[in-house]
Amino acid sequence: VNKTSVLLVEDNDDDVQLTLRAFRKHNLANDIQVATDGQQALEFLFCQGAYAGRDPEDMPQLVLLDLKLPKLDGLEVLKRLRADERTRTLPVVVLTSSREECDLVESYRLGANSYVRKPVDFAEFTEAARHLGLYWLVLNLAAPHP
C-alpha cells in the first residue's frame, strides 16, 4: 500500500499552503509530500540524499510540478524523470502560473501528462485541485511500477 499519494514540487510557501488546503477541503489526499526545489524532488523520488532511507517501492500516484523552481527547474526535473526507467510512466501534472506557450509546448514535449494553469481566484483553484485529485488519484489507472 502506497504511503505517499502526491508529491507537490513547489517553492512558494503560499502556494503550498493553498494547494494543501484545496486538497484537504475535498478530502483527497492526506499524505502529500512537498519538495521545495527540483533537486529535492529528484532526491525524494530516487531515494537519494536526505531520502536515502526511503522505501523505493513507495512511489507517489501523482507529481504536481511547478516550472519555476530554484536549483533545478521544473522542465529539467521532468526531463530526468522521463529519462529514468523507474519514473518513466509516473503521472506528472505541470501546475504553474505560466501561460507562456513555450512552457506549454515544452512540457508536453518532455512528456508531461497534463498542464494546469493555477488560477488567481482561489475558488477556481480549489475547483481545479478537486478535479485533479478526482481524476489522477481516483479515476486514473497508472502503469504498474517496473
Binding site: 493553498l18 488546503r21 516550472l67 488567481v120 482561489f122
Partner: protein, 530 residues
C-alpha cells in the same frame, strides 16, 4: 531647350529672314545692289531667298514653341517647299546634262545655283522628316549635315578668296550670302532640332558636353583661320602656298593634339572625381551595414529582454495575487464567525481587487504576445471567423438576444490566430456595449473606399457608442471611456486590436455616436511585412 539656345536660334533665324527680305525687295524693285548686299558678289536669287525664309521660319517655330506644342505640319510643309524648289532646279540641271536642253529657261532672278539646290533639297527633306521617331531624326540630321558641308565649303572657299563669279555647270555658283545663310540655318537646325545628337551635346549638362563645347569651337575655327591666313599670306607674298598649306596642316595638327590632350585630361579628372565619390559611397554603404547590424543586435537584445520580462510577469506577478485571494477566502471560510459584515465586505473587496489584477495581467500579456508573435501568412476566411466568434459569444451568454449579420465571402491574407484575436476583441467589444439594448445588432462587412486599393472591413453595432471627442483615446492601453460599473473590461482589447492591425500593415479607426452605436473600420495590407 536652354534659354541661350532659344536666343541663339532666334537671332540667327531672324537675321536670315532679314537678308532674304532685303534680297527679294532688291529683285522686286530692280535694285541689284540689294541682292548682293552692296558688294561685288554673286547675288542671291529669289527662290534661294524663299528657301532661306522657309528654313529660318522653321527654326523659329522649332525654337520658340514649347515641346509638345510645335506645329509639325507647318514645319514639314515649309520643308516640302524647300525640297520641291531645290528639286526643280536639280531636274533642270539633269535635263541639261542628259539631253542638252533645259526644262525651262529660268529668268536671272530665279537662277538658283546647283549646290544651293542640293542644300535646299537636303534641309527641306530633313524638315519634312522632322518630329518623328529618334531613328528618323538621325536621318534628318545626316541630311542637314550634308547641307551644312555644301554651304560651308562655299563659305570657307570664299573666305579663302575664291573667285565670287566662278561658273558651275553653266550656272552661277552659290552666292556667299546664300552660303552664310544656309550654313547658319543648317548649323542652327542641328542644335535646335529635338533629339538631335549635336544639340544634346552642345546644350547638355553632362561632363561630355562640358568637354565637347570648347573642342567643337576649336575644331571649326582653328583650321578655318589657319587656311584663311595661309591664303592671305600667300597673296601678299609673305610665303608660298606650299608653306601656307604646311602651316595649316601643322597648325591644325597642333590644335587638334592640344584639344585631344585637354579633353583627355578633363576626362581623367572627371573619372578621378567619380572614383573618389564611388569610394566614399562604398564607405558610406559599409558604415550603414555595420550600423544596421548593430541596431539589429540591439533590437534582438531588447526583444529578448521583453520576452523574459513577459515571462516574469506571467509567472511571478500572479503568485502573490493567488496568495492574497486564497488566504482572504480562507479567512472567510475559517474565521467567518469572528468577522462582522464590514470585515467580510473588506475581504470580498480584497478578493475582487486581486481577481481584477489577475485579469489585467492576463490582458497585458495578451497585448505583449501580439507584438512578439511571429507573423504567419495564410488566406483567412474572415466571414467564417466572425460567425465562429459570434457563436462563442452567444454560448457564453445564452440569455442575450443579439442579431449578428456577417457578409459572406470576406477573405484576407494574414495571421489566422492574430486575425481571430482581432475579431474576438472587436466583436466582444460590440457584444459588451450592446448589452443594454433589447434589439442588439452587430454587423460585419467590407466596403470600398476611394483612394484605397484594399477593402475596408467594418464592424458596426447599435450599442452605447461613444463621443467622437474621445475617439483618440479609444485605442490606448488601459484607456476606457466607460466606468467599470457601466461596462466591465480591462481597457486592453482595442489596444490589442490596433496592434494586430498595425502588424498587418493596416489601419484601424472608429466612428461613433454616444447612445446610438459605434463602427470600427480596419484595413489589412496585401503584401505583409513580416
Amino acid at each position: 531647350m536652354p534659354r541661350t539656345a532659344t536666343l541663339f536660334a532666334t537671332v540667327a533665324a531672324t537675321a536670315c529672314i532679314g537678308v532674304a527680305a532685303v534680297v527679294v525687295a532688291g529683285w522686286a524693285f530692280g535694285m541689284p545692289a540689294l541682292t548682293t548686299l552692296g558688294r561685288a558678289w554673286t547675288p542671291m536669287v529669289v527662290n534661294t531667298a524663299l528657301g532661306v525664309w522657309c528654313g529660318a521660319t522653321a527654326i523659329l517655330l522649332l525654337a520658340r514653341r514649347a515641346t509638345g506644342k510645335r506645329p509639325w505640319r507647318i514645319i514639314r510643309a515649309l520643308g516640302a517647299v524647300m525640297a520641291v524648289m531645290g528639286g526643280l532646279v536639280l531636274a533642270d540641271f539633269g535635263s541639261v546634262w542628259l539631253t542638252g536642253t533645259p526644262l525651262y529657261p529660268p529668268a536671272p532672278a530665279w537662277r538658283m545655283a546647283p549646290n544651293t539646290a542640293v542644300a535646299n533639297v537636303c534641309i527641306g527633306l530633313a524638315l519634312a522628316l522632322s518630329g518623328r521617331s529618334v531613328r528618323v531624326t538621325r536621318v534628318a540630321e545626316a541630311l542637314i549635315a550634308a547641307a551644312l558641308i555644301v554651304a560651308a565649303v562655299m563659305l570657307v572657299a570664299f573666305l579663302m578668296g575664291a573667285t565670287a563669279q566662278s561658273d558651275l555647270m553653266g550656272r552661277v555658283n552659290m552666292s556667299p550670302i546664300t552660303g552664310l545663310c544656309l550654313a547658319t540655318i543648317a548649323a542652327t537646325l542641328l542644335v535646335v532640332m529635338p533629339d538631335a545628337v549635336l544639340g544634346s551635346i552642345v546644350w547638355g549638362d553632362g561632363p561630355g558636353s562640358r568637354i565637347a563645347r570648347p573642342l567643337l569651337l576649336t575644331a571649326v575655327l582653328a583650321p578655318t583661320f589657319l587656311g584663311w591666313f595661309s591664303v592671305a599670306a600667300e597673296r601678299r607674298g609673305w610665303m608660298t602656298l606650299e608653306y601656307g598649306i604646311a602651316l595649316t596642316v601643322l597648325g591644325t595638327a597642333i590644335v587638334a593634339t592640344g584639344a585631344v590632350i585637354r579633353g583627355a585630361m578633363r576626362v581623367n579628372s572627371y573619372d578621378a572625381r567619380r572614383a573618389e565619390a564611388e569610394d566614399s559611397l562604398r564607405a558610406l554603404a559599409a558604415g550603414l551595414e555595420t550600423q544596421v547590424a548593430r541596431r539589429t543586435a540591439e533590437l534582438t537584445a531588447t526583444n529578448r529582454e521583453l520576452e523574459s520580462f513577459s515571462y516574469s510577469v506571467s509567472h511571478d506577478l500572479r503568485t502573490p495575487l493567488r496568495a492574497l485571494d486564497g488566504f482572504s477566502q480562507a479567512l472567510l471560510e475559517d474565521y467567518s464567525d469572528r468577522l462582522d459584515d464590514t470585515g467580510r465586505d473588506y475581504l470580498g473587496r480584497i478578493r475582487r481587487g486581486t481577481q481584477r489584477m489577475g485579469e489585467l495581467i492576463d490582458a497585458l500579456l495578451d497585448l505583449s504576445r501580439v507584438s512578439r508573435a511571429q507573423l504567419q501568412r495564410a488566406q483567412v476566411d474572415l466571414s467564417a471567423l466572425a460567425t465562429d466568434v459570434a457563436a462563442t459569444l452567444r454560448e457564453r451568454e445564452p440569455g442575450r438576444h443579439v442579431l449578428v449579420q456577417v457578409t459572406p465571402g470576406l477573405s484576407a491574407e494574414g495571421d489566422p490566430r492574430l486575425l481571430r484575436a482581432l475579431l474576438e476583441n472587436l466583436m466582444a467589444n460590440a457584444w459588451k456595449f450592446t448589452s443594454r439594448r433589447p434589439d442588439a445588432l452587430i454587423e460585419f462587412t467590407a466596403i470600398r473606399e476611394d483612394g484605397r486599393p484594399d477593402p475596408v472591413y467594418v464592424l458596426r453595432d447599435n450599442g452605447a457608442g461613444f463621443d467622437m471627442a474621445h475617439a483618440a483615446k479609444l485605442f490606448g492601453a488601459f484607456q476606457r471611456l466607460h466606468t467599470e460599473r457601466e461596462f466591465q473590461g480591462t481597457g486592453v482589447g482595442l489596444a490589442t486590436a490596433q496592434r494586430i492591425v498595425h502588424r498587418h500593415g493596416g489601419e484601424i479607426w472608429a466612428e461613433g455616436i454616444a447612445g446610438q452605436g459605434a463602427a470600427f473600420f480596419f484595413t489589412l495590407a496585401e503584401d505583409l511585412q513580416t
